[in-house]
Subunit: 211 residues, 2 copies
Amino acid sequence: MIMKYKTVIVDDHPIVISGIAGLLSELDNIEIVEKFESGIALLDYIEDNKVDLILMDIFLPVINGVDLCKTIKQKHPKIVIIGMSSQSERSLVMQFIQNGGNGYILKNASFDEFKNCIYKAIEGEIVFSEEVKTIISQPLSEDLERIPGLSRRERDIALLLSQGKSTQEIADDLFLSFLTVQTHRRNILQKYKMKNVAELIAFLLKNNMLN
Amino acid sequence: MIMKYKTVIVDDHPIVISGIAGLLSELDNIEIVEKFESGIALLDYIEDNKVDLILMDIFLPVINGVDLCKTIKQKHPKIVIIGMSSQSERSLVMQFIQNGGNGYILKNASFDEFKNCIYKAIEGEIVFSEEVKTIISQPLSEDLERIPGLSRRERDIALLLSQGKSTQEIADDLFLSFLTVQTHRRNILQKYKMKNVAELIAFLLKNNMLN
DNA sequence: ATGGCAATACCTGATAAAATGTATTTTTTA
DNA sequence: TAAAAAATACATTTTATCAGGTATTGCCAT
């Protein structure tokens, strides 16, 4: 009798669970023992059942994948955990790996990529799908010239600006001097080399820097 | 011989395609004829092949689902198109429906929801999965008085405004009088009852009215 | 063909914002 | 704890925007 890796899938999209299950069914030494739509259910399950491999979505309701991975690894360091998501942020992937994750796959990866990553992960490697590799292997370019963030106050003011407030109104709202708000405005515009507030707001919104 | 609905799936995640394909295989009168990872490939395909139903992701590379739906419906109004996404924004769903979409399903919908929606859609209904319904049925009041669109010229000017151009620069760019641009600006601000350009740009971007 | 809308253009006064310079206090962080 | 960053405040000059009118032309849809 062949030992199969007892595998669990966690994803809040039934469709995705079904897709991965279909894919994994082609792998001889993988046996899907459970499927969950939330991390809480998974935590319960692994207390009472043997699990070798977990494929988990990173964006889950209630508890997110990064924290979930950490929690599981603390008690069950031998379980191989592979993270998945639709879009990936560099910092998120790094966090996941730092919390003990054994790999990270983007959902737009091909079937072959999925298979390869899973095989290598259960052999002990840390694996990434192609696109993830390209994202995390640009530490020089993107990390160094990454846009400086808004300070708290600057964000407050930018937000009110996007609501059409004038300098005076913002000053009143935040209990500041008109002149202080004016200085902040100037600093923000200078920081991002923007010509005026219109361009600034467009820039901030496009980069999700407001809210 | 039973007539089956010729169905195409478009999603940039192979896993999701596989999942939906698995789900649809349980439906007797649905036949999956093709699967695509991009909208461009789909557009080519429907020129030469009969298609009755399209299930498409909204967030696609190159061309997004909303535009894709519009393009397809212009030439092939009889094709039933159902949109899908992981997260949904109210305005996005409305836009999709306004562009001719026949329904919208969140990917976290259950299998039963998927099946029901697909059945009803091919019977001519406009369908939404449960969570989408709750999202779109929140503020009736504001949405029924749907926002008037920008005219061509107004859009040009709004776009340049979002790039930080001054009235004079816009006038130069578009070979218009300074005064004409000034009038357009005023009209746009008045139309949406915005206090200034900053608020206007925020409003337009949030409603996807630029680009 | 005509009424409505879009696009064009002009005038003016009041107000708001941008550019520039300086400076103190508080908070963060190395 | 010392240095750096952020937040605060002030003053002045120049430039741009906003809001109030008015008016002509072209288009396109009833």
